[in-house]
Symmetry: C2
Subunit: 342 residues, 2 copies
């Protein structure tokens, strides 16, 4: 099992990528291919990881990188030797089994789509992420890969999200909800109303109706599907509100007259409460619908986040997420072909 990591993509790379991957490779006994500037990567291995020779680590040089603020898709087309493209091509040629990047999301999606190609039967890729609920976790998708969706894309998302929940979370029959602004079928915008009607009729998905945004966090659904615009709003709102509440709490804590040990105990409680909510613990999002496991890390990924991202890639490979999606998407296509056309 070999994971290709774009060592240059992200706010704190290559430093955090190299340190995190060296530790992940050793601890998870997984081969990691670091893709990026050979000189910089070797210098970090030497300075912070005890030497250039590391178990399970190899380096593949790439002379270019996509910056975080570049238009991603265009950068991938122009920079032929960008680290993200070189890493994606390793998966394409079978030299690696999964791709990890914490860099420019648009570039990662574009490179994966361009080099890995789509799973037959899947029209559009989707970024899927695990969010915390009061009872565990929920798979949400799409979180930004497809901003303007057609109703049929929601069916793809429901299939891919269900496979993810089954294979990675161990959910037997994942309860799928359509992210919407009301519980009733008549609620929502034109696209969600049409998507609701389509989802109702998909046999291989356990569709349980609309899921309101607050319900996402209650634990009554295992998968929530939405277009990339709504999903990104959900994700970033959750981040913003979390940061706001924690800031307010810390202000209160500073102002409170507590002795040092109690203050530390409360701080620790806040930290533990946030543990499940922190991006570092998840290892990032999965790009589903492409022919290969592809993990999209948070731009601010730390070394720890890279460890978890490599682990997420490993789980994706072990669960054969891509193969199972291809199987279900193929079955749906066959079904559609079997329906006499009007």
């Amino acid at each position: 099992m070999r994971v290709a990591v774009d060592a240059m993509g992200g706010d704190y790379t290559p430093q955090e990528a190299v340190v995190g991957c060296a530790s992940a490779a050793r601890d998870l006994e997984t081969e990691v291919i670091l893709v990026g500037d050979m000189g910089q990567i070797e210098a970090i291995l030497k300075a912070d990881c005890g030497g250039i020779e590391q178990p399970y680590i190899t380096i593949v040089h790439a002379s270019q990188q996509v910056e975080m603020d570049e238009p991603g898709a265009m950068a991938v087309r122009r920079k032929k030797d960008a680290s993200i493209s070189v890493a994606a091509k390793l998966v394409k040629t079978g030299e690696a089994d999964a791709l990890v990047s914490a860099g420019n999301t648009g570039a990662t999606v574009a490179a994966a789509w361009l080099f890995l190609k789509s799973v037959p039967g899947i029209d559009r890729p989707a970024i899927a992420c695990l969010l915390p609920t009061s009872k565990g976790q929920i798979v949400c998708l799409d979180l930004g890969a497809v901003v303007d969706c057609q109703p049929r894309h929601f069916v793809d998302f429901a299939i891919m999200g269900s496979v993810y929940a089954q294979r990675v979370l161990g959910c037997e029959s994942p309860r799928v909800g359509l992210l919407n602004i009301g519980a009733e079928e008549s609620k929502g915008n034109e696209v969600t109303k049409a998507a609701h009607r389509l989802l109702r009729d998909v046999d291989c998905v356990n569709f349980r109706g609309n899921c309101e945004p607050d319900e996402v966090f209650f634990g009554s659904f295992d998968v929530a599907v939405c277009d990339g615009f709504a999903g990104n709003i959900l994700l970033k709102t959750a981040e913003g509100v979390g940061a706001l509440l924690v800031g307010l709490l810390r202000n209160e804590l500073r102002a409170a007259s507590l002795d040092d040990s109690t203050r530390e105990a409360v701080n620790e409680m806040v930290r533990r409460s946030l543990h499940g909510v922190a991006y570092e613990e998840h290892g990032g999002a999965l790009l589903l619908g492409v022919n290969g496991v592809c993990i999209i890390g948070h731009g601010r990924s730390s070394a720890k986040a890279f460890v978890n991202a490599v682990n997420a890639a490993k789980l994706g490979i072990e669960g054969n997420v891509v193969g199972r999606i291809a199987q279900l998407a193929g079955a749906i296509e066959d079904e559609a072909r079997a329906v006499p056309q009007a």
Copy 2:
């Protein structure tokens, strides 16, 4: 100054509405007209407010009410004597200056739109709400009145939100952001991209570009505009994440070995941190774009929430929010007419 309150709309009405309004009328020295079942309202005044005769309180009977789970617009058309319609008509005829309801939101929007009519120059109404930020508050709209928006509706929302921020929050030149999933102008779905181009050219709005959902809570914008679908996702996600985090914290607190007084101190800190986030403190949302002040309370409004809703209505009247919106919308219309048609 007279505020007509739909005493029947909401999960805990008429009880909480009557008790809250009796206290608001007395404390704010504001005339409140309770609209609903006369017998029930009188019984509550007698049992819980010290008697039927209350300073500043009058009752107007309505024989019907719209239930929370009815399709709102249809119910308003069918139930001619529904409390929300009777209350709206009091504003229409000038017998009241503002309308308050914590009932079925669709019914409130429909009744306000039907009986109060739109402000000339405003195409669609919008539900505006104050959300907490780390530095104060932000006006967000629309939160669910218009689910499928045209780009030009965002201009109406920007004007109405700016007036609200000026007149009610005392913001001199409100910084308006377009809720979007990226900072760059090129980001977003088709509608937001077109809205961005329109907003750039509106003279009477201090447009500061895109506002990402987490930025909503950072305090760098005073107004965020969005379509009702995205706005409702934002609002309900914030509620859900808030509830999740508080639940996690309370679990940690239960499990921690703290003495009773420390536990109570920490609980109090959590409560205070949430104070600004709680719907009870805001008095609900404002329906903008109709000819009259209209406050939409949270369905779960308590007596305290009704007090704040009546106060919010008072502020809306005093700030002449409706008059100022009409003035700006009229100016924009004149401008548009002055542009030679292609």
